[in-house]
Amino acid sequence: MEDNRVIKTKDVNFYYGKFRALTDISMDFEKNRVTALIGPSGCGKSTLLRLLNRMNDLIDGTRVEGEVLFEGKNIYDPEVDPVEIRRRIGMVFQKPNPFPKSIFSNITYGPRLAGLSDRVELEALAEQSLKQAVLWDEVKDILGQSAMMLSGGQQQRLCIARALAMKPDVLLMDEPTSALDPISTAKIEELIQDLKRQYTIIIVTHNMQQAARISDKTGFFYIGKLIEYSATEKIFTRPDVKQTEDYITGRFG
């Protein structure tokens, strides 16, 4: 169904200066699904993810060719405001990056900028987002404390809650568990499973089991190219391309 594909990239090439980091990427991302991006280091997974909410704009000397359609509209159209795009397509980074502000201010940072100022609403939003990110019970009594005091896993869940507070349509996650212990990782994986009912999630991961456990579709990248993209189950059991199989089974040369 046409409607189901929230984000589509069409023949996208991406350049850092003269260096081409992505080549001819055409890919659809489905609504309420978890899509995993896998591939060896440096193959362009983060670049693609950051392309989807125009975070690459912040790097000098980058250039995009092709189209990235979000709900049918090219987000690289000159009249599109990247701020608007980033409000609707949230992002969680590899390294937890809470602001050196209170937990509460972290959560309400985005919504406040978007114009929400009613204290009661903000409090409700903070509670809801923190509950969604399974952090509420741990921090409900210390909302005024600095987010820097939290553990790494808590900080990452706070960053997820912060992204959720914007009520985005799509959530981009760049190796969200790579800095975390197994328990925090399990919590975040569970969370992703819950979240996909409401959100479209695109996640980069180096952890094959994680991709297999949580994603519906998986794309395998190699040196800036999309090598294979299909249902996760297929990728992990009978991939079409030999390179994919080699990578997944750890026989990569």
Partner: protein
């Protein structure tokens, strides 16, 4: 064995050099206090600090440095008022807004401003700014608080700007990315994330800029006008402490009362700059320990 010996010798040498500078500092401070304290046999400390009359060469002389202290503070205050916004904003512009090529021109230019000898600035204040002030506002003299504050601000701006810029530069990229990813604009990111995260460094910059202004001698000697009286308007002349010391030291007979009084003024100045530096140090540490706290 020999390597350890070398290690030990090198350590000792460094220690020795460190000791030499501390020793020299100690000697200067001792000297300052030894030459300054005798004045307090003639006037009490409160009379010295708060006395409103500075007539060191009259008979009988009056050694009250309150007008000098007020002069120092007033020019420091107004120069800070001018220099802080300019210094901090130029730092923000250079580190966050300016495109790369412009940044590479602006940064050395501001540093060049720091390299202008203060006597040149003083000269500029005397020859250009003073006559202009005098004509435009119809004043008896253009050598006054406004002139001194402007010139001191010119001196403090590069100090404030370069330290603040260093502070802004150390704000992790992750904070900025987090902010943009939440749909913040550039100016929102600068105001709500970057500046608050660099606040301790920026405060340090401001305090060190103030310390620079309060201790500066040549400029105030040349353009503050030199009146040892409590000013009543911004266009009045003042006589900040360093100017007073520099102007009078040559005429004060060795170990006379006047001489001791000038050294005592030096002590006050020294304690003030020391306080500024301690505050700067405290501010930069305090914020760091709590991870910038809950801003």
């Amino acid at each position: 064995m020999t390597r350890r010996l070398k290690e030990i010798i090198i350590k000792r040498i460094f220690f020795l050099f460190a000791c030499v500078s501390i020793l020299i500092l100690g000697l200067i401070v001792t000297f300052l206090f030894r030459e300054g304290i005798p004045i307090f046999r003639i006037v009490s400390v409160p009379d010295f600090l708060l006395g409103g009359e500075w007539y060191p060469t009259f008979d009988p002389p009056a050694f009250g440095i309150w007008p000098l202290i007020v002069g120092s503070f007033i020019v420091t205050f107004f120069s800070t008022l001018i220099a802080v916004p300019l210094g901090v904003l130029s730092a923000v512009y250079i580190s966050e807004v300016a495109p790369r090529p412009l940044k590479e021109v602006l940064k050395p230019l501001i540093e060049l401003l720091a390299g202008i000898p203060s006597v040149v600035l003083g000269f500029f204040g005397m020859v250009v700014l003073a006559p202009w002030l005098q004509d435009t506002f119809d004043l008896p003299t253009g050598l006054n608080i406004v002139n001194a504050s402007l010139m001191l601000a010119l001196m403090a701006i590069p100090t404030i700007s370069s330290i603040a810029e260093d502070a802004l530069y150390t704000v992790p990229r992750e904070f900025k990315e987090a902010s943009y990813a939440l749909g913040a604009t550039k100016s929102e990111t600068i105001l709500k994330v970057i500046i608050p995260s660099a606040l301790s460094g920026i405060s340090t910059a401001v305090i060190l800029g103030m310390a620079r202004a309060i201790g500066e001698t040549m400029v105030v000697l040349m353009v503050a006008g030199g009146a040892a009286a409590i000013p009543e308007s911004l266009f009045d002349s003042v006589r900040p402490m360093p100017a007073s010391i520099a102007a009078e030291m040559g005429e004060a007979p060795f170990r006379s009362e006047h001489y001791h009084a000038l050294f005592a003024t030096g002590i006050v100045l020294f304690l003030l700059t020391l306080a500024f530096n301690l505050i700067a140090d405290y501010v930069s540490h305090k914020f760091k320990e709590v991870g910038s706290g809950t801003l």
